[in-house]
């Protein structure tokens, strides 16, 4: 089982966490202006890289707070963990 370092609680077992998908997906600023294609992109299309992915996690069985992580989807290694008010770190 993986240990995931919650920014507030420290390393806890994976089973305590809930996965929230890709991070930094902003709700459209002007929804009424969106074309069908734009809506499809917003609703259905997410990054699915084989490599680093910025994503959201919630420590649902702990402090219940959301945070972001950059995780390598090939190895499951967590390359960075950061709070929602922090910018996405640059991964070399």
């Amino acid at each position: 089982m993986q240990l995931i370092p919650c920014p507030w609680c420290g390393p806890r077992e994976e089973a305590e966490f809930h996965y929230g998908g890709q991070a930094h997906v902003a709700y459209p600023e002007d929804p009424a202006a969106l074309s069908d294609e734009d809506w499809a992109k917003f609703v259905f299309f997410r990054a699915n890289p084989s490599g680093p992915l910025a994503e959201r996690w919630s420590h649902s069985a702990g402090c219940r707070r959301w945070f972001n992580a950059v995780r390598d989807t090939r190895t499951h290694d967590l390359l960075a963990v950061y709070r929602l008010d922090e910018p996405k770190p640059v991964i070399p």
């Binding site: 089973a15 699915n48 995780r71 989807t73 090939r74």
Partner: protein, 409 residues
């Protein structure tokens, strides 16, 4: 059933196909040498007479998801669109051994999809009625009926998620996945298809919006048409031409027990407690779990998923309590937003797409091979592929099969 374990397994085959170097050019290049890719090449050659075809596989033939699935075959999906393609596939399965001239151990032992709550029961009965309207064999059986069909299922009302009944498809069953792949590979090779292993596609070349070649770890290969059949890695391939797909790749785990005497006569699946079990011809109990929640390409999953799966299995089948776990593994599945596949043309001319089968691609192997080959040969979607275009996510014409997909995702 029951048969003596192992008695009906054919001998391990000798080499069934050559191991050629790639030629400079092909009419059609199929990317992905799993079940879908091999079946597509087979039907391209057999039905459409297109034999200047290469199947490119980055590892060894059928060594990805085809080697890792739990081999269940059924067609009891809810919507007409799904019934069309899955039932087409099941009909092909019923004649496939003869068609390929190769044993695939197709065993129509029936599939039970259990219901554990009143809402499960209502949804299941609705699906049975929808199946009947599409001419698919399906019936609703109550808990006693489940016990009759599969005596080892615990139908006591005193468990946490009691079995209230099940949908039952008698023509559903299992096949031996390796033999299916080898049968398709052997037959495709005999008609002139090049099966090229250890050949990873690293780029896709286009000129004026039209595909012209693939770059591979064994050099550049020109192509009239390119057909993607790469399951979990479809997003990675599509990005090579700047195409985004509405797919998430997830690890999906399965496991087998030690070899046991025949004790499990059918296939039992449960969406609610999440486990599904059949007994392989040789005697292992083959069990599947749900997907891991997060995206992953690492072909390994989380321990707690297996723990939940085993807990569910033991409640449903107390007789398994002393069975030993032999091995576990994971494949990478490409899950679409509506739990239905994406088949057809792409914005790039002569680039064709077959992906998004998620957790249930094996059962579609001959059906999608036939339908995708026709789509490639004619340059327009086969009628069974028409509802499964990429643009349904823009038009909103989704084929929502989460309820019939049988794996929680």
């Amino acid at each position: 059933m029951p048969r003596t374990p192992g008695a009906d397994l054919p001998d391990h085959p000798d080499f069934l196909w050559d191991d050629p170097d790639p030629k400079p050019a092909y009419d059609v290049i199929v990317v992905g040498g799993g079940g879908h890719g091999l079946a597509t090449a087979y039907y391209l050659a057999k039905v459409h007479g297109i034999t200047n075809v290469a199947v490119l596989e980055k590892g060894w033939l059928a060594g990805g998801n085809m080697a890792r699935n739990t081999t269940i075959i059924r067609s009891n999906y809810l919507w007409d669109e799904s019934s069309g393609i899955y039932e087409h596939s099941l009909k092909l399965w019923e004649g496939l051994e003869e068609d390929l001239g190769y044993p695939i151990l197709f065993s129509q032992r029936g599939v039970l999809n259990l219901a554990h709550s009143l809402q499960d029961v209502r949804d299941s009965v609705r699906r049975v009625e929808a199946n009947k309207l599409n001419g698919i064999d399906a019936e609703w059986v109550d808990a006693e009926g489940v016990k009759e069909l599969c005596p080892i299922v615990n139908t006591s009302p005193d468990v946490r998620y009691p079995v209230l009944g099940a949908t039952y498809q008698p023509r559903a069953g299992i096949a031996k996945h390796d033999y299916v792949a080898w049968g398709f590979a052997r037959a495709a090779h005999a008609m002139g298809v090049d099966l090229i292993q250890n050949c990873e596609v690293t780029g896709i070349s286009t000129v004026n919006g039209r595909v012209t070649a693939v770059e591979t770890s064994r050099g550049r290969i020109a192509a009239g048409k390119v057909a993607l059949c790469a399951a979990g890695h479809s997003s990675v391939l599509a990005r090579m031409v700047g195409l985004d797909l509405p797919l998430m790749s997830h690890p999906l785990q399965a496991l087998v027990s030690e070899l046991l005497e025949p004790i499990h006569p059918t296939v039992v699946m449960s969406n609610a407690v999440h486990v599904y079990v059949s007994q392989a011809h040789k005697g292992e109990l083959v069990m599947g779990a749900g997907i891991d929640s997060y995206n992953g390409y690492g072909q390994r999953g989380s321990f707690h998923i297996i723990e939940q799966q085993m807990a569910a299995a033991l409640e449903l089948f107390p007789v398994f309590a002393r069975a030993h776990l032999l091995r576990t593994w994971a494949g990478i599945v490409d899950v679409s937003p509506d739990a239905s596949p994406i088949i057809g043309l792409t914005p790039v001319e002569n680039l064709f797409l077959n992906c998004g089968w998620g957790t249930g691609g094996f059962k579609a192997t001959p059906g999608v091979g036939d339908v995708f080959a026709a789509t490639i040969a004619r340059g327009k979607p086969h009628e069974y592929a028409e509802p499964f275009t990429l643009d349904r996510f823009t038009t909103g014409a989704l084929v929502d099969e989460h309820g019939a997909a049988a794996v929680a995702h």
